[in-house]
């Protein structure tokens, strides 16, 4: 069995702590860089990062891209607008197909 971790601002991550998720609150998104090794030391299966944190440490997240776990996933934070996760998916599609794929109404 493995754990779930979440990194983000205190407001976004606090609600997950009572559910058994390892919540790592950072004051500034850049602080996640120093925290990242500690998070990975706990060998979580899933790491959720808020959008500002994802924007601050893309290189560290990319380093985990080749292995099945941890699955690092972007979620919107309490103050963010969302859409970064979808952009990440679009980039994966572009990488695979060599082109963007329009979203059809029936797909959503």
């Amino acid at each position: 069995m493995a754990g779930i971790a979440i990194i983000g601002d205190a407001v976004s991550v606090a609600g997950f702590r009572p559910l058994g998720v390892a919540a790592y609150a950072v004051d500034r998104p850049e602080d996640a860089r120093a925290l990242w090794p500690t998070v990975l030391d706990a060998a979580p299966a899933v790491v959720f990062v808020t959008e500002p944190v994802y924007a601050a440490i893309p290189d560290l997240i990319a380093a985990t891209a080749d292995s099945p776990v941890p699955a690092v996933t972007v979620i919107p934070g309490a103050g963010s607008t969302g859409g970064v996760g979808s952009e990440k998916l679009e980039r994966a599609i572009e990488r695979a197909l060599g082109t963007k794929m329009p979203v059809r109404e029936e797909d959503v």
Partner: protein, 209 residues
């Protein structure tokens, strides 16, 4: 395109033909693998988009409830209430092989019920928000599993496409060119050998007469 420099002899010809055959077989196998990977990839995308929209909407709803709870009871009360709970091992993590790509299999166990804070001093909205978060958590884990699989498949598709293209547009034409050029040179030397023999034969016949 750079050509392969080889000695034009029969041994090289056989060797190159064998290499070309292997390259053709490999190309066919890789092309089949690429098709299958693309099929698998496309099947996952639509479902993933729907799931992400659902998760983002549910998260915004829960954040909104938490914000109202904070406004009602005050940030320190909510912050101390949310300190309850310890990190637990919630996920059974495995791997699945999809066309030689190892994708994660995440199985979420039972989520502990949120407790450890005073129901008297915290607003009911906090309970609602935590309940909503515990409902969205399984979908978040599913989303993580799907997105990771999509990213791993995308990387494998890119690599496989490069290999297919390298075989199709570089190696196979180079080998075919090399085989053709050796063939031409061998034919040429065979013709010149035959002409020489005919000439010699003519000369010998002329001398005998």
């Amino acid at each position: 395109m750079a050509t392969i420099r080889v000695n034009p002899n029969r041994m090289e010809l056989l060797k190159l033909r064998r290499r070309l055959e292997v390259a053709k077989r490999g190309h066919k196998l890789l092309k089949d693998k690429l098709d299958e990977l693309l099929k698998e990839f496309m099947a996952r995308i639509a479902e993933n988009r729907r799931l992400r929209d659902e998760v983002e909407e549910a998260l915004f709803g829960a954040y909104g409830q938490l914000a109202i709870a904070r406004a009602e009871a005050g940030s320190p009360v909510i912050a101390s209430a949310l300190l309850a709970g310890q990190p637990a091992d919630l996920v059974e993590a495995g791997e699945k092989n999809v066309m030689s790509v190892r994708v994660p299999l995440l199985d979420l166990g039972e989520i502990p019920p949120p407790e450890g804070y005073s129901l008297a001093t915290t607003p009911a909205l906090l309970d609602g928000a935590l309940e909503n978060l515990s409902e969205v958590l399984p979908r978040m884990v599913e989303l993580a599993e799907r997105e990771k699989a999509i990213e791993l498949l995308a990387a494998e598709i890119e690599t496989t496409r490069r290999r297919v293209n390298a075989l199709e547009y570089v190696l196979m034409p180079q080998l075919a060119d090399a085989v053709r050029s050796i063939r031409m040179k061998l034919d040429e030397s065979e013709r010149s050998e035959r002409t020489r023999l005919m000439k010699v034969k003519e000369m010998i016949e002329g001398q005998q007469q």
